[in-house]
Symmetry: C2
DNA sequence: TCCGGCTATGACAACGTTATCTCATCAGCC
DNA sequence: GGCTGATGAGATAACGTTGTCATAGCCGGA
């Protein structure tokens, strides 16, 4: 009944509305429509769209007018299928910090938008046995043009190997291993921790507690190095009992503070390797009844939103997460497979949580 | 020289490695490879992949084996181009809260993964004149199968109209206008604010300050309604001077607290419509030297990470953001264009920032 | 004048899937 | 025993781009 059959018409024939009148239809405009309106070949439209060489200004203008008039947007799917680019890059992370991820996405997304690329965000679990397969599937399915990874995924050897096997451009943010194997963006964690430690020393502190970060993150070790470096320069001996392992989160910061403050010779300042842990230190101090910064100075790392929201506001190191994301995407888009490195500046931010130690603290017998 | 010409061979002929041996090549496996290995037609493979009817168990098994053996992942681009689905949905937001966005993405992403869909995140600016075009371009380019919007984008009429024009399935999270125009997920903001207010009243508070949210968000007004509703039920008169407008952020919370605490008859409790603002209230109280919760109870809304990180930890309303995201994606995937609504439960979380008011507060002359 | 190289444009195949149509088989029914 | 409808499988044409090749015009040098 509804089965019209007219010989030559088979398959999905949907011949476009001919003539010049009715493009404001529900059907999306295609490159074919644009070529008809502009009065040029499809290939010429494609050339203009892709900014290829050998297009006269005349043609270019005609095409651009037609594109604007039809409000034409090329199909990413068709471009991906026909070409060898997908105009998409992936951001792979296994990071529980909303603040970090939000800003990283903002930076990467910003750069992508500038280049008319799209960012595909892929959370993952570095302990999952399916990690490598998941990454492979993502690349296969979406035909990604490049990958950005954040710690700690940056240092998963098997994942890295899979990416090399596929010869896909990779940029890592703050990588810890195989530093020269891929492009990378990072800050100088050693120097940053050194800066903070030196600042605390300059206030007069001699016993400075350090809460380190999660062992999966190489930055944790780097910050310990910077801490020791500053102590040494100041002629202060390293006391291992002042270093307490944390996990970057609030709870571990609070636990570390309780342990450190219970020492026979407690520190007069605690430097936590993340703002979350610093907030934990603050909470523990409150609980115990130690006032900050009068009796205890507290410093964080990252300068997340959190730093200004706790009381007192945290002295911390500003890590330009958004800029790191932007730079990572920039390296990917500008250099592709060519390996490049870019170091971004950090900044010491002084707020209310640090002050000179109380003079003549009883029990401080050291020179 | 390199120009071999053999008549029929033109264009990009890359004949696949015949035989059965070398698929572990660099070239991705295609559906054609799978069909050859399985010994069935391409279309049958497609049927199995798309879980279509009319495939015998025998065939299905052969195909699945071949897929696994070749580690085959279908090209999303080709699927999108050939079919009428793209297996992608968009998440459009203009929200400055990392916590909110992170959890929303987690929820939506989770549901997408379960359905082998991909989530495309698109931040936007509701005040930008290009908003509607941007959304249109996104849908055109990526051929999205659906859209999820979060406040305040949910209530931008022009954007909504554009989506209707394109007849694309839409789910809105906490919409404020045109409630029945699209599918929606939400919590009962009126009841939630009522619950919190009633709780504060039950502690003995009679003068309860309210810091409202940003006027762009309809939830702000709804929470005011709930607040008034609880007061009325308790027979407490509404005092407009106790209601102070905020913007959902820390700064405005601090400013509101300063204003409220400077009143001749200051409130004994302040209910802020977000945890960020509640943290601001806390900070202002600290600054002024008012202790919480002894002299002032403070309550928030959202139960973000923040709530447990400030001191004292916030009594707040838990808003299941992640679940809202999951539910939104679920509605989209399960019902498509069919309009559905789903309300999720909220929860009153009592922590250390609230307590009964100090007995016999001088200056409290009201009954 | 003719050739070679650069510029500018177009024709057509190819990318890897899904949609449509066709055909074969098989069971149940008049 | 042939008709009908459900089931199972394949051939082939799209989908909307880009890649490859062909070609035409133009300029400069042999």
């Amino acid at each position: 009944m509804v089965n019209r059959r007219d010989g030559e018409m088979r398959g999905r024939d949907r011949d476009l509305p001919a003539g010049d009148g009715a493009f404001a239809r529900m059907t999306r405009a295609t490159i074919k429509d644009v070529s008809r309106v502009a009065g040029v070949s499809i290939k010429t439209v494609s050339r203009v769209l892709n900014k290829e060489r050998y297009v006269s200004d005349d043609m270019r203008q005609k095409v651009e007018e037609a594109v604007a008039r039809l409000n034409y947007h090329p199909s990413l799917a068709a471009r991906t299928l026909a070409g060898r680019r997908s105009f998409q890059i992936g951001l792979i992370h296994d990071n529980p910090s909303p603040y970090y991820i939000f800003n990283m996405q903002a930076g990467v997304g910003q750069r992508c938008r500038e280049a008319d690329f799209r960012m595909i965000v892929q959370p993952c679990d570095i302990n999952s046995p399916g990690l490598v397969d998941d990454i492979g599937a993502l690349i296969d399915q979406a035909q990604l043009d490049g990958i950005i990874m954040t710690p700690p995924v940056t240092d998963v050897g098997t994942a890295l190997a899979e990416l090399f096997r596929r010869k896909i451009p990779v940029v890592r943010v703050q990588p810890g291993t195989d530093l020269t194997a891929t492009s990378a963006v990072y800050i100088d964690n050693v120097q940053a921790a050194d800066d903070m430690t030196a600042y605390l020393i300059s206030l007069g502190h001699r016993r400075i507690g350090l809460v380190t970060g999660h062992a999966n993150y190489f930055a944790s070790g780097q910050r310990l190095t910077g801490y020791r470096q500053a102590l040494q320069r100041a002629g202060i001996g390293f006391d291992a009992s002042l270093v307490f392992p944390g996990q970057f989160d609030f709870q571990s910061g609070a636990a570390a503070a309780e342990a450190l403050l219970a020492l026979d010779e407690p520190p007069t300042a605690i430097f936590a390797s993340s703002d979350d842990m610093a907030a934990g230190v603050l909470a523990a101090a409150h609980r115990i009844g130690i006032s900050v910064p009068d009796q205890l100075s507290v410093a964080g790392f990252d300068d997340t939103d959190l730093a200004q929201v706790v009381w007192p506001a945290l002295t911390t190191i500003r890590q330009p997460i958004r800029d790191l994301g932007y730079a990572a995407a920039d390296l990917l888009l500008e250099f592709g497979e060519t390996i490049e490195r870019r170091q971004l500046p950090h900044e010491l931010i002084v707020r209310g949580s640090t002050a000179p130690p109380r003079p003549m603290d009883p029990g401080s017998s050291r020179g």
